[in-house]
Symmetry: C2
Subunit: 438 residues, 2 copies
């Protein structure tokens, strides 16, 4: 892609509402545009990042055998009345009347709908366990939407649901998801801490939040940094190994400020291992047993002819929120550097261009074609602008690697730079292999 063709409305004008750095950066680099309070359009740059996150989440869900499907955004109020949450949910639920006067709503979550689908589809314990997920837009009518995509009204979320015959089975499903979440956040280049959590309005017995570290986060975090040393490669996909994995993670101290006790912290965590920082919740998993299957009468024919309500869990990851959270975790000193796995482009070529000299641009175009042929997703900055402005701009766009074609370029060597590092002079062949290996 040539930058001059990319729909990327870079701007210096910032709304006064943009108070946190991810919101500011996303507006400045034209990743998003607000259309109403808490509702955003995703422009090409932001869209690419979000899609990459979505794809990693999808691959990791598929890997544990979860099956993808898709529930609609608009739901009938009836199933919510069956579960009892239609009244409970309060004003955050966007309630709608259709032209026939039927009470509908924009789904804020999908426990009711998935239970409704399940009860009419699966009857026998032989078809269990089942793990189903979808990635769909949700709506929560926040009274004060803020922080850009971090706390917006229309948001993109992966939510998965597990169905098991008994609690023992359900915990195995829970552990699989736990494992999948750790893997997912690792691939996104994020340090995520699983933290035992209260179950809140979804209800139930067992719950973890996944919180990534970011100094600008919403919650205060106290943790033992040894939790980052837990090595997923030590575990296999057997139930026993996954149970051990969850226990190992849980053995390290990690709490938010509502559960924090100074004495406890100092007793359990050595001074040099203590992490005190802030964090952002990016995932949440719950086991809640028959909380929905009982009122919705979602029964399974168990062995011996008995019927029993299916045991369920739900598992969310905020996809649109992760775009903002990743920025909060990575944007420092006016430089944003995307983790390679979700960067909008693999590399940017920045030629020094002047009206009278197009030689650098021609060189750049040649390199562009060669990299394209290698399936490297490359952006070419063909805009006629001075280099210092270009560098500032690319510090914000955040593509992790740059090829700079300017005064330093030699016949067959080019300046190659990783953001936040010093540049080196490399042949195109070495650049290619560096980009392929990263």
């Amino acid at each position: 892609m040539y930058l001059s063709k990319l729909f990327i409305p870079i701007t210096k004008e910032l709304s006064s509402e943009a108070k946190i750095k991810s919101h500011q950066l996303m507006l400045r680099t034209g990743m998003i545009k607000q259309s109403s309070a808490g509702i955003y359009s995703w422009l090409p740059l932001g869209f690419k990042v979000m899609k990459k996150i979505e794809q990693i989440v999808r691959e990791e869900q598929n890997l544990i055998g979860a099956q993808e499907m898709l529930m609609p955004t608009i739901q009938s109020s009836e199933i919510w009345k069956e579960s009892g949450r239609y009244e409970d949910y309060g004003e955050e639920m966007l309630r709608i009347k259709d032209r026939q006067g039927r009470e509908m709503l924009y789904g804020p979550t999908n426990e009711e709908l998935i239970t409704d689908i399940f009860r009419s589809s699966i009857k026998s314990y032989k078809s269990l366990p089942q793990l189903l997920y979808h990635i769909q837009w949700k709506f929560r009518d926040e009274i004060r939407p803020r922080f850009g995509v971090m706390r917006c009204r229309e948001f993109y979320m992966k939510d998965a649901y597990s169905f098991d015959l008994d609690e023992e089975g359900a915990k195995k499903s829970y552990n699989k998801m736990f494992y999948s979440y750790i893997r997912t956040f690792n691939r996104l280049g994020l340090k995520a801490i699983p933290m035992a959590a209260d179950t809140g309005p979804i209800g139930g017995d067992l719950s973890h939040e996944f919180i990534i570290l970011a100094e600008t986060g919403e919650s205060q975090i106290y943790a033992d940094k040894k939790i980052f040393e837990v090595d997923l490669n030590k575990y296999d996909s057997s139930d026993g190994s996954l149970e051990k994995m969850r226990k190992d993670f849980s053995s390290f101290y990690a709490v938010t400020d509502d559960k924090f006790k100074e004495n406890d912290f100092n007793e359990k965590v050595k001074k040099e291992s203590q992490v005190k920082t802030k964090g952002i919740e990016v995932g949440h998993i719950f086991y809640f047993g028959d909380k929905y299957s009982t009122p919705l009468n979602c029964l399974i024919d168990a062995q011996g002819g008995k019927k029993a309500p299916v045991k369920m869990g739900s598992y969310g990851i905020g996809i649109s929120r992760l775009v903002g959270a990743t920025i909060e975790a990575n944007y420092n000193n006016e430089i944003m550097k995307w983790p390679r796995s979700i960067s909008p482009f693999d590399v940017v070529i920045i030629p020094s261009i002047s009206k009278n000299n197009k030689e650098n641009l021609q060189k750049a175009e040649k390199i562009y074609k060669e990299l394209k042929n290698q399936n490297i997703d490359v952006l070419l900055d063909d805009v006629d602008e001075n280099m210092s402005n270009k560098f500032k701009k690319h510090d914000l766009i955040g593509i992790p690697y740059q090829i700079i074609i300017g005064s330093k370029s030699e016949e067959d060597k080019f300046e190659f730079k990783e953001l936040n590092s010093k540049s080196t002079m490399l042949s195109l062949e070495s650049i290619k292999s560096q980009l392929k290996n990263k």
Copy 2:
């Protein structure tokens, strides 16, 4: 995927509302489940097909340089008041009040919102032309939703928008989309006729519907079958060549019944070339100039310091509708055969299994692994059911190729069958290469 693990609630019970064959087939094979009138959940089988269609549409949009982005589902009424369509749209627009009492709506289309984004982003003719698209859920509150996903309320659509300085440029964008649509439908295995159309409520000057042939279609079609012989390979991506392509398509007689005149038809089309059948609209493209840019004040700095409203077109493809339309076009005599490009699986292995003999299942599992290793997406029917039932079931699921492991299997040859054809005995190597070449 093993069929016993796939979430595929096959059913014989059909709602009396399922009157057309695509609706019936999708319910019977558990591709979809209705959640409210005209609103469906997409279960894994249906979801896979829809995603494959989406991906082909996406690739073909990208190929002509259109850039993907994503607008939200919920829009503010304000921009619709600016364009004047808030009142005009009538009851099909799902109108919503949020908790603050603001008038919102679920987007039935996106001309207003994209114009709003564009006017705040692009000022200069130098940044033109632009082609932007998104693939997003839309809602139209049909008074009588029917025909399953063919005429539902919440539907999935690709809509693209073009922005040009003048009509001449706009027609070039229009021709690119025209070309992209023909390519897209070809890849989906569909015969699509572009047909000059009235512009209807979107308004404007130039418009084509793309209609695929299906005997159960909603519109009566009269056409010259030579239109299917137009060879896209004859044209290149230059503006002149694309203009010629559109003219060539337009030179063949093709009308719906509202414009049909018997005499005309007989005069212009030789008897042996006459096609009289029914069709389903799956795409619609419009050029409408400044219909939205003028009221929304979306102005471009043209050369010579003047300002002019940008010239726009819009281009839709019904993604969820295409799943149903493809079934209507391909499901005959109780056999559905998916075009390979969008089939939910590449091939299904059907072993004859009995309680006392698992040998066939073991053979099947071995083949399954080998095909998986070749990146062939294979379904293994490991259900304990007699072969005649299995065949009937797979006639409906519609995977185009089958490997049958039963009495006919030899040591190293297996029965390989393409739906609607006779089976042959082939070695696994030949099967692999057949599957890879198709």
